[in-house]
Symmetry: C2
């Protein structure tokens, strides 16, 4: 255990100055999780709106809050891009202009191929600033720094992406960073990430939005826990999720087609009144879910 | 508040002897909720298997456990049929043979037209034994009396059905019975029930089973809370749910078609890269859900 603690300390010490751009639910939870750990880093938050800056300081999610990227990244060892997905590449471009050589940049975006390919292209010209794509898979249907929590990431999966262009030192440091915050790191290419996440995250969101769309408010008043849980993520931010869907279109359409095939098969068995086929489909899903997700 | 308590007491006193046939999650929770309340009734549980009988007595879900329906319903004022859906009509037939005139019979089945039409036909010849269809909408993906809880029903909806043949005195007593257990009663015809519940309960279950079917175990290992919640009910009992689906076929197929329409519309907007249409669909679902389901 001592070994792990030392390792953690080293990792944190490597990133003495950490700048988080976009301090909402995810950025704020990173700030809180960093500040929970005993280390010597300074956490700067970069904000788009002054009202969020005040909230984040009140919530103690960052040490310093600023509105200007240039000054915030000048001394940064690590920059975390934690804005909505569609803003990440343009924020990365601004970071590249002001960061010192050796700065490592990562992000928390829910799609990776779109983001990583854009930023890698951008960073080709920026000597010594390295980008490693990340996706810490924790969240909530509630947005904003006021919902941030130091424990949001504890035990959650974090996919860190690797490409031909990924700098291996930066990659190792980013992996250690997420591990030190309690996340369970998995390594994938951006494409593998997008395919996997389209199935386990984007598809459930799309399904939950459609399910909610199919039911009227009056009918919903009779709903019990089953409906509530199945549609929980349909209370997520529409703008944010539209961008996630649109930056991972191809994988989501493929995932949607897989779902449609399964759903049609089940409806067909029900339509035929085929109890044996119906039970078989349900058993297959239940046993898979029970095996891989355990009980809460 | 005194008025309510007296009313509750009267209701309970009207049903001095209550027999629950099938003491699993739902039947067991009814027993526990009854025993939590101060009243003079005796609760008899009827079991199919001796091992469940022992569990239920250990769990204190019933006062007396028996294996034989005839003796258990002879003195009953209220009989609650709490078995899996497909067994309810045949159990009702057995009850009709042994119950005294004036006995009221209700059930907890998740489909109503199939059950109510069968039992009303059966009970035509049984002078003075009245059936009122009910569906307390609480549950869990965990089955069995060991998961039963005295609070399972607190604040949950309970649909009580009314038809041309429903005895109005029996109907009022059954409504009062569920209210006294803390449920929020809604009155519908069996057909209205089946249509509503196909959308808010059966459809989410079918969707969750299909969603789980579309994802491999390996992919599931990266899943976060969103996937876990959206698919929670896919861990429900396959045999039980196959029977619910098959006894409410028509309504589920219609609900499935409504879902398909919504889902296809969302995928179409994503495929086109139409941000405006995508945001509109997501906003519509989010605002409806937030309005009618509030936050937990």
């Amino acid at each position: 255990m001592l070994r792990l603690s030392t390792e953690k300390f080293k990792t944190m010490a490597n990133f003495e100055n950490i700048t988080i751009i976009g301090v909402g639910l995810i950025g704020g939870s990173i700030g809180l999780a960093l500040k929970k750990r005993p280390s010597a880093h300074k956490v700067i938050g970069v904000f788009h709106r002054r009202v969020t800056l005040k909230k984040a300081l009140k919530h103690k999610a960052v040490d310093i809050g600023v509105m200007d990227i240039t000054s915030a990244v000048r001394d940064a060892d690590l920059v975390v891009l934690a804005s909505p997905v569609h803003l990440i590449p343009e924020l990365a471009a601004k970071v590249a202009k002001s960061a010192k050589p050796g700065t490592i940049v990562t992000d928390v975006g829910s799609t990776k191929e779109w983001i990583v390919s854009k930023i890698e292209k951008l960073f080709e010209a920026s000597a010594g600033v390295h980008f490693v794509g990340s996706h810490p898979m924790a969240g909530s249907e509630h947005a904003g720094v006021e919902s941030a929590s130091e424990d949001l990431f504890e035990g959650s999966p974090c996919i860190v992406t690797k490409t031909r262009r990924t700098n291996s030192v930066a990659f190792k440091k980013v992996v250690k960073f997420w591990k030190s915050l309690g996340l369970n790191v998995k390594i994938m290419t951006p494409r593998e990430h997008d395919r996997t996440v389209s199935l386990i995250s984007h598809l459930p969101h799309a399904v939950a939005f459609a399910l909610t769309g199919a039911v009227t408010g009056k009918e919903m008043e009779c709903a019990a826990e089953g409906f509530r849980d199945t549609t929980r993520v349909a209370s997520s931010d529409p703008e944010l999720w539209a961008d996630i869907f649109l930056t991972n279109r191809k994988a989501i359409l493929t995932a949607g087609a897989s779902f449609n095939k399964q759903f049609a098969r089940l409806l067909r068995a029900i339509a035929k009144g085929d109890r044996c086929a119906t039970v078989k489909i349900l058993k297959n899903s239940k046993s898979k879910r029970d095996k891989y997700l355990h009980a809460k």
